[in-house]
């Protein structure tokens, strides 16, 4: 079937894209686990952010909704999970479910507002909503711990048995497992008619309506899905870090997620993953090497990516790959 010339078509002939995605995430996870056993907390944080970036890709890359307020969904879910834990719901999987649910509901709610607009006004709206949420989280100290963060909760062991260890092994493996499942699921969804339709909506809403598609409910639905994914990430952060801070809802978090997404290549779930990984690893390396002046280097890296792979790393890689293949007989 040759319909898949689109960006999500890296599928090899043998494996379905979903299976490939699932295996690659596990492979990466294993590599991380084996090669960097001392950095698991860092890697876990990357996984948590990867959910946010994937979630952003769903609305930005696939639906064309540029947003600089997406962290709101992530943060709200993190607070929800934290508060649930505080109320005694210690099971991490339950907390993840709560995060996903709360994320989905917040996604539907914000989506219902934001999907009414397009373009620049929409971008500003996302900023405004994000800032309002952030301000609210600061205000509701009894719920969020305010600027000190929410830290007076404990998360129980996984499956009631496996406790989280100081090295972060359990947390990491759990995170990778969930990421693999969610990633495979999302790969599936973007290949579905629904996924195709959202890409069409991104291209041209007028035409999409002219083939009988209702735009608004689809965008809101996608926002809901996106919220669920972000919510899982937020809850994961709350579970693995043991603190939920205002940074989770901040503009900086939203903006950096967008940067990672574009870095990897929006409109491609692999790009979201690659962007998160590359950004964090690079930032980690340079900020460890020079904690004082690493920012310039990150800036320089972003600039270089725009210069050499303007559509993001994943597309750059695809182009390079096809060039190499074309050269070799």
């Amino acid at each position: 079937m040759a319909t898949r010339a689109g960006p999500s078509g890296i599928a090899s002939g043998l494996l379905s894209p979903e299976l490939l995605g699932f295996l690659v995430v596990w492979a990466l996870g294993t590599v991380g686990y084996v090669l960097f056993p001392d950095d698991l907390a860092f890697l876990t944080r990357i996984v948590s952010i990867a959910f946010l970036v994937l979630s952003l890709d769903l609305v930005t890359g696939y639906c064309g909704v540029a947003t600089l307020g997406h962290a709101a969904l992530f943060g709200i879910a993190a607070y929800a999970a934290g508060n649930a834990a505080r109320a005694g719901w210690a099971d991490p999987l339950v907390l993840l479910a709560i995060g996903a649910l709360v994320g989905a509901v917040s996604g539907l709610a914000t989506g219902a507002l934001i999907a009414r607009f397009r373009g620049l006004p929409q971008l500003v709206l996302t900023i405004a909503v994000g800032q309002l949420v952030a301000a609210l989280c600061n205000k509701l100290g009894w719920l969020t711990g305010g600027s000190d963060g929410l830290s007076d909760y404990t998360v129980g062991p996984l499956f009631g048995r496996i406790a989280f260890d100081m090295y972060g092994r359990v947390a990491f493996l759990m995170s990778v497992a969930i990421l693999a499942v969610v990633f495979a699921l999302l790969l599936r969804i973007v290949r579905s008619p629904f996924g195709l339709l959202t890409r069409a909506i991104k291209d041209d809403t007028v035409k999409a309506r002219m083939i009988g598609a209702s735009i608004y409910p689809r965008l809101v639905a996608m926002y809901g899905l996106s919220g669920a994914v972000a919510g899982i990430g937020g809850a994961l952060g709350a579970i693995t870090a043991g603190v939920v801070g205002l940074d989770g809802v901040s503009f900086e978090r939203s903006a950096s997620a967008l940067v990672m997404l574009v870095l990897g290549g929006a409109g491609n779930l692999w790009g979201a993953l690659a962007g998160t990984l590359v950004f964090h690893v690079f930032e980690h390396l340079v900020s460890t090497a020079n904690p004082f002046h690493w920012m310039s280097l990150v800036g320089a890296m972003l600039i270089l990516v725009v210069v050499f792979a303007p559509r993001g790393l994943s597309f750059g890689a695809i182009v390079l790959w096809s060039k190499l293949r074309a050269r070799s007989p």
Partner: protein, 254 residues
């Protein structure tokens, strides 16, 4: 047969400019109607009003017996009202086949499906391929839209419209940009449609108009100033002077 589409006193103005003025038109099943008129007469605007992209200032629009004056664009599409655009509009990041397949899927109510890959929806994809072949670009399915020559894009747009199995089909200059030898293909594609649907075509290519239409509406300054058979239209002095120009003479000679 009963009317599929009826307009009653439809009017529209942009600021001070009256673009549509008290238009009353009815299309019945099986109608093949051409809408002609000078540039800026309001033809495209009329189509926009019918499809719901513009809301009329006054008047009513009835589609298959239902008043749709306030209905949304997509609701009208689902009732069988389909159009093409004067300047092609396609989903530029999708391939040609994906464009058509999406329309088929949407029409069959399958875009609510979140979990089954499009590639596995064989019947819809095959239908899309068949439509591409009908309009004559069967071999271009895997091309992305931006890599298609303009003429081919026009043909693709027609395929997308056909995929929606219209009851009322509005074609805004479907042959513009399509070379003359390909233009008959458009008529062929239309001829293959079920006989009982209504087709309204805006066209400046008079050869096509005269071959296609049973009835011709002439629009000028937003008003229907004349309607009749092609022959009657060609014979009308005002229409010849204001619109047809030398074409009328050429036609008379032949």
């Amino acid at each position: 047969m009963s009317a599929l589409l009826e307009l009653y006193g439809v009017s529209k103005a942009f600021g001070g400019l009256r673009v549509t003025h008290d238009v009353n038109v009815a299309l019945r099943g099986g109608d093949r109607v051409a809408l002609i008129g000078p540039n800026g007469a309001g033809k495209t605007t009329l189509v926009n009003l019918i499809t719901g992209q513009l809301k009329p200032d006054a008047g009513r629009i009835v589609l298959a017996g239902r008043d749709v004056t306030r209905a949304s664009v997509e609701a009208r599409v689902r009732l069988g009202l389909v159009r093409t655009f004067q300047i092609t509009r396609l989903f530029s990041s999708l391939t040609a086949l994906e464009n058509v397949a999406l329309a088929v899927l949407q029409h069959r109510g399958r875009t609510r499906n979140w979990l089954r890959p499009v590639a596995k929806m064989t019947s819809e994809v095959e239908e899309a391929q068949r439509l591409l072949e009908i309009v004559g670009i069967g071999e271009l399915g895997t091309r992305s839209v931006v890599a298609l020559a303009y003429g081919h894009q026009r043909q693709l747009e027609l395929a997308v419209a056909l995929a929606l199995e219209p009851k009322v089909l509005l074609l805004d200059e479907p042959a513009a940009g399509v070379p003359h030898d390909e233009a008959p293909r458009i008529l062929e594609a239309i001829a293959r449609l079920p006989q009982d649907i209504a087709v309204l075509m805006i066209e400046h290519d008079m050869d096509l108009v005269f071959r296609f239409a049973q009835r011709v509406l002439v629009l000028a300054n937003g008003e229907v100033i004349f309607q009749g058979t092609p022959a009657e239209v060609a014979g009308d002095a005002y229409v010849r002077r204001a619109y047809l120009g030398s074409y009328a003479d050429a036609r008379r000679q032949s």
